[in-house]
Amino acid sequence: MIALLQRDLRLAFRAGGGFGLGLAFFLMVAVLVPLGVGPEGALLARIAPGILWVGALLACLLSLDRMFALDFEDGALDLMAVSPLPLEGVVAMKALAHWLVTGLPLVLIAPVLGLLLSLAPGGYFWLLASLFLGTPALSLIGGFGAALTVGLKRGGLILSLIVLPMYVPSLIFGAEAVRRGAVGGDAVVPLLLLAAISLGSVAILPFAAAAALRANLK
């Protein structure tokens, strides 16, 4: 499992493309929104939690189709399927690699973008916490979607159609936690619910994704 993780990380760093792309996209969203709605600080501060979370969702979505597609094409996925490591473990490691490469950088860069969107000072801690707890669910749900669509020619579009509705609960709780944190309200409850979704995803989705991969590899 560790070897697989290391391989995926190495591929992600050295092959380029996927790694920086999500971050750049996240940055673009945070720059474009003020250009679209105007530079008024109070308005930006009010919509910042939602923009940041939507941006994080979309940035995650960008690199999902690569999660299994490359290994599927060159046959590496078949080898993993017959290896002693269960497919559930493969999926979990792939999702972890995706999170380390996409989710974690998003968490780290988010406060800077919060600054651009004049997020209220109370919101930064909750922004970090909610993204840190919420993005693992995004990677896992995305991994499930990628496993479903891995064999398809027009997979990318269907992938987003399948994955985005499943992101809704995470988005609601995540953005709500930041919003409440920014105005000094009680942000712990949405944060806990967000963490619950992530934990539930960790527990269930690798099995669902592995089932989908098995159907695709048959």
Partner: protein, 243 residues
């Protein structure tokens, strides 16, 4: 005699050939009775005027939209556990019907909401979760149509249906948390004080029964179509191999 006999496509076709005229006839009778009674023989509401009568389309279609997803969930589980093709095809057949009911529910709701709430759309929990349910239907249908191999498609959509159910359920409660809305509570419930009055409730029950039977009719019909198209594909495959 057990329900699993109908997992045999031939048996299913035989029985549904016999049942279909009766079921569709019953759907027509119930719908005509319920809608005519509801539209023409109930008084107008003192506050809502005649717009109250949209309830006869809105409530049954909304109920069926949720029930259709539930039926697909059961069909998917049966396919994954017992590998009965008819069940997978029935789930496939139900999806567009469910989507249509979802759209009917949303559109009639908007038509009613415009004069009553003064807006076509509000980000109310019920409305939002219905819209999300519609998106789940879209994803499910898109996945069915995208996968070429029929059995793989059945596997993948079944897994999606099960996981999607969990997330659709989560969304339902997440949006409650997110916004307390305009939509009134249950229109019909056994123990509640504030549901609609009996004048409206009787035709409404008939309409709900009518929509339910209509759903059964459409699913039977579409499942039969799917089975026939499977047979045609099998025949064509046999012809190609020259057997």
């Amino acid at each position: 005699m057990s329900i699993w006999e109908y997992a045999n496509p031939k048996k299913f076709m035989q029985t549904s050939t016999l049942a279909l005229p009766w079921v569709s006839g019953l759907a027509v009778v119930l719908l005509v009775a319920g809608l005519v009674w509801g539209f023409f023989f109930t008084p107008e509401d003192y506050k809502q005027g005649s717009t109250v009568k949209i309830i006869y389309l809105h409530v049954p279609s909304a109920m069926m939209a949720v029930s259709a997803w539930f039926m697909m969930l059961v069909g998917s589980l049966i396919w994954l556990i017992r590998r009965h093709h008819v069940s997978a095809l029935a789930a496939k057949a139900a999806a567009p019907v469910g989507l249509t009911f979802t759209v009917i529910g949303l559109v009639t709701g908007a038509i009613w909401g415009q004069p009553m709430w003064g807006t076509w759309w509000a980000w109310d929990p019920r409305l939002t979760s219905f819209l999300i349910l519609g998106l789940f239907y879209l994803g499910y249908i898109a996945l069915w149509s995208a996968v070429e191999d029929a059995d793989t498609a059945a596997d993948l959509t079944s897994v999606l249906c099960i996981v999607g159910s969990v997330f659709a359920f989560l969304s339902r409660y997440a949006v409650l948390f997110w916004n307390q809305g305009l939509h009134q509570g249950a229109s019909l419930s056994v123990d509640s004080e504030q549901h609609v009055s009996d004048v409206y409730a009787f035709p409404l029950w008939i309409c709900i029964a009518g929509f339910l039977v209509l759903f059964v009719t459409l699913v039977l019909l579409r499942t039969r179509t799917e089975i026939r198209s499977r047979r045609i594909m099998a025949l064509m495959a046999r012809e190609r191999t020259g057997a």
